[in-house]
Subunit: 437 residues, 2 copies
């Protein structure tokens, strides 16, 4: 048996992910040592309450409530407590004492990433966060390393399992949002307070992280345009289906021409995706990240986006890599944010749209609608009108589905406002972007 | 502008991939320096004939026929000449002089990987080969690093674009093998001598590389069981389609229980894949690698499996990583082959089968066939009999499609031999494994 150098691993947090990480570190110790070239000694687990029930039984003597004490002397610190504080301070403390840090904390990386990376660079250590985006799916390392010699043009990610589960069931069953959400909550796919998922906050954090990596630019969370899925109803999904689309909550990170140079756009919203697109077939709570790069062409990474044990796999991959670096010597490789591209406001983004309106079914309405679109520099690609109700003498109601050519978000918004106020439109049912065609 | 340390990059080979690598190194020099934290100076390109026509124009002064001279003093050597010699000697020469090596040479890595990795370890350098498997798709690094803390149970890969193109067209058009092959050759998807692709040699090299990485075990190429697709005809594809399957040439790498311990099996053959499996939708010349791991669950990596510029993306990712290591200091991280699992002979592999027979349509035939299967310890799961021709007085002909439960490859082979010799079977049409259900 090989005699390995021993590394001290401190774990902060023993929730769904943490308890699995602790379990795997202990039960797979020999294998992990073989992979890492170093024995990974779990020296302690910091928790809030040593007596709380856990998903996996952990040895009582490893549990402590003193996280700060545990960090002292650790070679690798795994932060799985979540939230900004005290996670941020503890990570900085660990880095300053020379430890490598592994975290799954997407909120922290999305908001304080540059501070953490800077602190790591100062001491030649690393902060790894593969588990922060898309659970078990390797996406951080491929973007950071495998595509480091390429230019990413565009990422479209299904990075929130809860909303994909809800939209997929709505699509397959024709059910309404509230109904599926309640079911998802009962089954544990959605939290009691579903805001972080259904309003797109979680996806926006992941979008900021992906865009920062892909475009070598620090993307602050508040630069991510965000819309959730709560306004998507069964009728909108059925209409999308009829037109050959499926609705997915997408994190879109895009490199665009901007005058003589380039800029990036980062946005999260429900979008129409053609049924034949690889992302359209991502079912249930799964995640997938579709990447378009200049040389590599189209790539897709698919798998489980959440789950304690799945996320633990990503955490342990980072832990083994950190251990290898300890053994190999040398400093950690920092994040490259040297491109520092400007971030485009959402109003200047260009996409195609599908606008669904309820209008009076009488002569001249389509001409009025078309005129308003034309005045707003929004060019019509397709129109479909269906009668909703006969008027019995008075004008009936019709549904108008308008597909546009590429239009500027700002023009589109202004135009939709003018349609709503025009007198011929009873209701703006939905305005959705079309992505991936 | 940041002042970077300069690294000397030597390129061996200027074919489809090499010329694109040279082009990107020169046109994207500033960006690559930003990513790597070092300027990557392309100091020369070794070619056989400096006057040969190239896909991309390259400056004449960089071309040389003296590869050995070029290697001297290089920090990073990119080997894109292919074949075993002189590629092997030159890589060893480069490693011994302390350079990091990046290669796309699957034949060399599959046959001489351990020798190269050992040489790299001796001097603390690295051999990277992301481009050797599945072109632009990041799969080497995810297996090596991202899944380093997990246990891979199984890989199913579509790793040869030519055969996937042929099988996909046969499936979609109902055409025969020879016809589609000729077309693929005319379109440049298949070589004039298609043996390496259609007989599975190329896929077997990639399977050996994937299995070595996934199971931390040196898998020699001759331990890979290999069957090609030349026997797959339009009728077999149509029957598979009718049964809800698509036929794909798969590289299967599997960890199996073996007595008290574990063993691995590595095999390449055309297999029936259920239409709803993610691999079933991999179209045209694309590649995809489906990975099942203990903690991560199911993952899939999808993209272009070949092409000069696509493969160049993978090469440059490795080059940037090698450059970062140079700047960070420390030694390279070697390949972990410490698990050293035994490799199961194919006779001891267990899978499900679909056996298609032509039999005489007369009483007692099914009983005889069922008896032979039962004697051979092959358990029947499904049987479907269809009449091929009426006998007009004499016995007609029928087609019998038998789905088995999991059976031992060796038992199955013996049983099929006995069926062929039984007198009631006119022809064994096909014996295909079922994977992924």
């Amino acid at each position: 048996m090989t005699e390995f150098r021993r590394l001290r691993v401190a774990l902060l947090g023993a929730g769904a992910v943490g308890s699995q990480v602790a379990h795997l570190l202990r039960t797979h110790a020999d294998e992990l040592a073989d992979r890492a070239g170093a024995a990974l000694d779990l020296v302690g687990i910091a928790v809030r309450d040593v007596d709380a029930p856990r998903d996996v039984e952990l040895p009582r003597e490893l549990l402590t409530t003193d996280a700060d004490q545990l960090i002292v002397g650790a070679d690798i610190v795994i932060e799985l407590t979540g939230g900004i504080e005290p996670a941020r301070s503890r990570i900085l403390e660990a880095l300053n004492s020379g430890a490598d840090v592994v975290t799954a904390n997407k909120a922290l990386v999305a908001t304080h990433g540059p501070e953490l990376f800077e602190a790591a660079d100062q001491v030649g250590a690393t902060v790894s966060y593969e588990a922060a985006v898309a659970g078990a799916i390797p996406i951080i390392r491929p973007l950071r390393d495998s595509l480091a010699g390429d230019r990413v043009h565009r990422i479209m990610g299904i990075v929130n399992g809860t909303t994909n589960y809800i939209l997929d069931r709505m699509d397959r069953e024709g059910s309404d949002f509230a109904e599926v959400l309640a079911d998802a909550q009962a089954l544990g796919y959605a939290e009691a307070d579903p805001t972080a998922d259904v309003d797109g906050f979680d996806a926006a954090q992941k979008a900021a992280i992906l865009a920062s990596l892909a475009f070598h630019t620090a993307v602050p969370l508040d630069a991510v345009h965000r819309e959730g899925i709560t306004a998507i109803d069964a009728q909108t999904i059925a209409a999308a289906r009829g037109a050959g689309y499926v609705i997915k909550l997408l994190a879109v990170c895009e490199r665009v021409a901007d005058g003589d140079g380039e800029a990036i756009s980062v946005r999260v919203y429900p979008a129409l995706v053609p049924r034949e697109h690889p992302l359209a077939n991502v079912r249930g709570a799964n995640n997938a990240v579709f990447v378009q790069a200049e040389a590599a062409g189209d790539l897709m990474f698919y798998g489980a986006g959440a789950g304690g044990i799945q996320t633990a796999s990503a955490v342990l991959g980072d832990v083994v890599s950190a251990a290898r670096r300890h053994i190999a010597g040398g400093t950690g490789v920092g994040e490259s944010t040297r491109a520092n591209l400007p971030i485009l406001p959402v109003g200047r983004v260009q996409t195609r749209y599908q606008i669904t309106l309820e209008v009076s079914d009488r002569p001249g309405v389509l001409a009025t609608v078309a005129g308003i679109l034309s005045d707003g520099s929004v060019s019509i690609a397709t129109v479909e009108q269906t009668v909703i109700s006969e008027g019995n003498g008075k004008p009936g109601a019709a549904r108008l589905v308008i597909g546009t050519h590429t239009a500027l978000e700002q023009n589109l918004g202004d135009t939709v406002d003018r349609l709503a106020a025009s007198g011929v439109v009873d209701r703006v049912v939905s305005v959705l972007r079309v992505e991936g065609d």
